[in-house]
């Protein structure tokens, strides 16, 4: 197994040089900056929650277990998708299967890959939360070690469950095309999620009492789920009331059990499954658009759309995003606006919070679908480079490919959530206008960044959005969202709350507006230009 991992480690080692690190330094700095902001945000929320009379400590514990409860679902879903990519769609599988290598070793290598790909982002974003809890409670040094270890075990449990599910589903569905498998997964998961949310949250949340009751009775407390085990393992150390080894052992034994289970499922099904998903030379129906002949301008767009719906590796990612969005809309539907109606400007604040969260969704969706769009050409990019298509036209086509669906999705999302909150008409128009502008700039930024850091030789497309460039794009995109919304809030504050309409007020409003336009125009234009130039000079295609 170690021998099989060696090429991956060597590739990683060879790709890291002083030059590369120096070039990526700004992105690393942005990442650290975000880590810090995330820490500050969590710490402030924690301090506020702990300050609430009677309920503070219980709520803080509840928040911790709820965070892991949500992560549990997300990581399992993400593991299923990445397991299907790693085990069945990766390009190195034919090579591995043709070598005198034990299936067990291939399974272990792929388990490692699937685990890393599905959880590294969550693993790298969680430390600020742990540190905030640690500092908030003045926890001993052992806490940090324990929480990281437990979180690793927690992630291994989700990987084991995800991989086992992926093997079984690929075996169960008789269709040769894996898309049916993933469609099945999607339907099952959405139904599960729907009933889960329906079942665990009481429906009366229209009063403050009902709201607190609903949080308190959110059933993350079942001793049968890993989020409960990690909370029980970590909190005694956080409270300095000893070390509860029982739940740590439960986590460890379950991690081992689910990894073993995934290996047993793999040994039982992997060989048969890999044969079932071989390209079969089956005829494709030309469909109703069979006679459509695109012009040069639309040819690339048309090709990308066609490929998207045929490529399981691409559209399966929609499931992850879909689940996140469903949870998001449901949460907004559950906000007890009436119960909070006593607070001044509560609707405006909620609309702003909604926009910030939509910005986060926009960044996450964009990294999957817009940032990766240039790299999607893969090594077939030589076709574009040697054809009479200029890079400007190519990059515009890629922009539209991401911009149209992402904008439609975001506009619907913001419209529905504002509707759920009963937002006033002017706030609705402002929200939709802001989101439209952000979609333009973030789509430009994503396309440009994707062109600046293309990864044409990828093993599976999910690895493109998970790359350092992808992460940097996501953080910059979210920074632009925050900057835009902060400036808009300032305009609102000066105009509506402060009521300053003297010269200074007017200047502040005008300057803020100019800055908003400049930031978004630069985010759209500059990366597209630089990306276009970089693609023209790109040499590592074939």
């Amino acid at each position: 197994m170690l021998l099989l991992i060696k090429p991956k480690l060597l590739s990683l080692k060879n790709s890291v040089s002083t030059k590369v690190v120096l070039r990526r330094l700004p992105f690393i700095a942005i990442g650290i900056g975000f880590w810090f902001l995330f820490y500050i945000g969590t710490y402030k929320v924690l301090t506020y929650v702990r300050g609430i009379e009677f309920f503070g400590e219980i709520l803080s514990r509840k928040l911790f277990s709820m965070t892991f409860f949500s992560l549990l679902g997300f990581l399992i879903l993400s593991s299923i998708i990445t397991a299907i990519s790693s085990f069945y769609l990766s390009k190195d599988i034919p090579l591995l299967l043709s070598k005198p290598v034990e299936i067990r070793d291939i399974l272990r290598l792929k388990t490692f890959e699937a685990f890393m790909n599905s959880s590294w982002m969550v693993l790298s974003f969680m430390p600020p939360v742990f540190i905030a809890y640690g500092i908030g409670y003045g926890a001993p040094a052992g806490y940090y070690l324990l929480v990281l270890g437990c979180f690793l075990l927690f992630s291994l449990i989700t990987a084991g469950i995800g991989i086992t599910t992926a093997h079984i589903l690929t075996r169960l569905f008789p269709a040769k095309r894996t898309r049916n498998v993933l469609f099945g997964i999607g339907v099952v998961l959405f139904l599960l999620l729907y009933f889960l949310i329906k079942g665990v949250i009481p429906q009366d949340i229209s009063t403050p009492e009902g709201f607190i009751n609903s949080i308190m009775s959110f059933k993350t407390e079942s001793p049968m789920i890993p989020s409960y085990w990690i909370t029980e393992a970590v909190f005694p150390v956080l409270f300095k009331s000893g070390f509860n080894i029982f739940y740590t052992i439960i986590l460890l034994s379950n991690a081992l059990f689910f990894l073993l289970l995934s290996e047993i499922a793999g040994l039982r099904f992997y060989r048969v499954n890999t044969e079932r998903i071989q390209p079969s030379g089956e005829r494709v129906s030309r469909g109703i658009l069979g006679g459509y002949y695109p012009e040069m301008n639309t040819a690339m767009f048309y090709k990308d759309i066609k490929t998207f719906f045929r490529d399981t590796g691409q559209w399966s990612q929609v499931l992850v995003i879909g689940a996140l969005i469903m949870i998001y809309v449901y949460n907004f539907k559950s906000i007890p606006i009436n119960a909070l109606s006593g607070f001044p400007f509560i609707k405006e604040i909620m609309v702003l919070v909604n926009l910030v969260l939509s910005g986060l969704v926009l960044s996450a969706v964009s990294v999957r679908f817009i940032y990766a769009s240039v790299s999607l050409e893969g090594q077939a990019f030589w076709i574009i480079r040697t054809s009479p298509v200029d890079m400007n036209r190519f990059i515009r086509s890629k922009f539209l490919y991401g911009f149209i669906p992402v904008t439609a999705l975001m506009l619907i999302l913001v419209f529905l959530t504002n509707l759920a909150m009963d937002a006033e008409r002017i706030l609705m128009y402002l929200s939709l206008g802001t989101v439209l502008m952000l979609c333009v700039s973030i789509s430009g930024l994503g396309t440009g960044f994707g062109a600046m850091y293309p990864k044409f030789k990828y093993e599976n497309i999910a690895s493109v959005s998970m790359s350092l460039g992808g992460m940097a794009f996501m953080l910059i995109a979210f920074s632009i969202v925050i900057a835009t919304l902060s400036l808009e809030s300032w305009i609102f504050y000066v105009y509506d709350i402060k009521g300053v309409m003297d010269l200074s007020g007017k200047i502040q409003i005008a300057l803020s507006m100019i800055l908003i336009i400049l930031i978004n125009a630069a985010a759209f234009y500059l990366p597209m230009r630089i990306g276009e130039k970089k693609l023209q000079e790109h040499t590592g295609i074939l």
Partner: protein, 236 residues
């Protein structure tokens, strides 16, 4: 016509191609042979616009591949040595896509697609995904896509990769036919007997430089033919 005027290309201070000058006339088949790593593929990639020469000029037809790249590329056909294609398109869809990006009008594109599918023997599998194609079928499709816009110049890197004897015979016929119609052909190959059979002239490249160019007649008159010459030149 293709003109290479004193072109050079280096990668990290290593000369991949060094001061290469060459004129390939209209309708000529020019072959370039040489040991592995001699600079054949780099030369071809510069001619396609995939790489930019550090020095020198490349003219395709009457267009400079660097300064008038769109015009040059529109009269150029390229068959690379590795057949990376859009795996999730069918052969027909792929040819239609290529026709679109070369701005071929619809009716002509459809008739040329049928013509190419027939010519290269892939009509039976035109509605299958490319991902299920064998190496030989991919090579046939590559040729179809390189010829669908009726190029004036054709660049081929290892033309017979993965083809069965029927495919090789068919393709040799296509190349000869194109040449007779005035298409300028530049091919890089390791297959010496094919270069000997097809090419009007053969250039020997080693360590990035063209060290000799021989005509078909000159090669015929030599002892050991092209193979003898190759072994002698490659050892130098």
């Amino acid at each position: 016509m293709i003109i290479l005027d004193n072109i050079s290309k280096s990668f990290n201070a290593t000369h991949a191609v060094k001061n290469v000058s060459l004129i390939v006339s209209t309708g000529e088949i020019f072959g370039i042979v040489g040991p592995n790593g001699a600079g054949k593929t780099t030369t071809i990639r510069m001619m396609t616009g995939l790489l930019t020469p550090d020095k020198g000029k490349i003219i395709i037809g009457k267009y400079d591949i660097v300064n008038e790249s769109i015009k040059a590329k529109s009269i150029l056909g390229y068959v690379p040595d590795k057949a990376f294609l859009y795996e999730k398109l069918t052969a027909r869809e792929f040819l239609i896509f290529i026709s679109s990006i070369y701005s071929i009008p619809k009716s002509e594109a459809l008739s040329r697609t049928d013509e190419m599918l027939e010519l290269f023997g892939i009509k039976d599998i035109e509605d299958e995904f490319i991902e299920s194609f064998s190496q030989g079928m991919r090579q046939r499709l590559l040729f179809a896509s390189a010829l669908i816009h009726r190029p004036e110049a054709l660049l081929i890197d290892e033309p017979f990769m993965g083809l069965d004897p029927f495919g090789v015979r068919m393709l040799k016929g296509v190349i000869k036919d194109l040449s007779s119609k005035g298409v300028t052909i530049f091919l890089a190959t390791h297959s010496l007997h094919i270069a000997e059979e097809l090419c009007h002239r053969v250039g020997f490249i080693n360590k990035g430089s063209i060290i000799s160019i021989k005509t078909k007649e000159e090669i015929k008159g030599m002892e050991g033919g092209l193979e003898g010459l190759f072994l002698k030149m490659g050892g130098e």
